[in-house]
Symmetry: C2
Subunit: 82 residues, 2 copies
């Protein structure tokens, strides 16, 4: 068993309306020290493979094909167990 | 300046329909080794405060009040700069 932790974030150059909405809400709640908020996805993927190198290869494929929109998003991942 | 990295995830006991949908899509793409997918939020919050302890206190408050729904979600965060 392997567990992959995947982080998908918008590229720096891409506007983050969700992050801006959250920043506005935080300001409304009195958290004026907040300068910027960027929001991304955090995924835990449990895999049925014991081979770490193979798991890394497959998770990269998963990110390229489905988990990240590589036109506007960056992804990185780590294999934490197995 | 401080940067806080916030992770918000569904509690273990809470069903994750989004994660199940992604698992199904990964299986359709031929990634049969995927056992489970859990999806959460990853947030980067840039703060205008140099005092690390104060920043930690405030980010905790932000999570409790807005960033996480503490009824069904867990949160954790780390202050990475400043």
């Amino acid at each position: 068993m392997c567990k992959a932790i995947v982080y998908v974030t918008l590229r720096e150059s891409v506007l983050d309306p969700q992050g801006q909405a959250v920043k506005g809400a935080l300001h409304t709640l009195g958290f004026d020290e907040v300068n910027e908020v960027r929001i991304g996805k955090y995924m835990e993927v449990m895999l049925d493979s014991a081979d770490r190198a193979q798991a890394e290869e497959r998770v990269k494929e998963m990110c390229e094909k489905l988990l990240a929109n590589t036109v506007i998003e960056d992804y990185r991942f780590e294999i934490v167990e197995g």
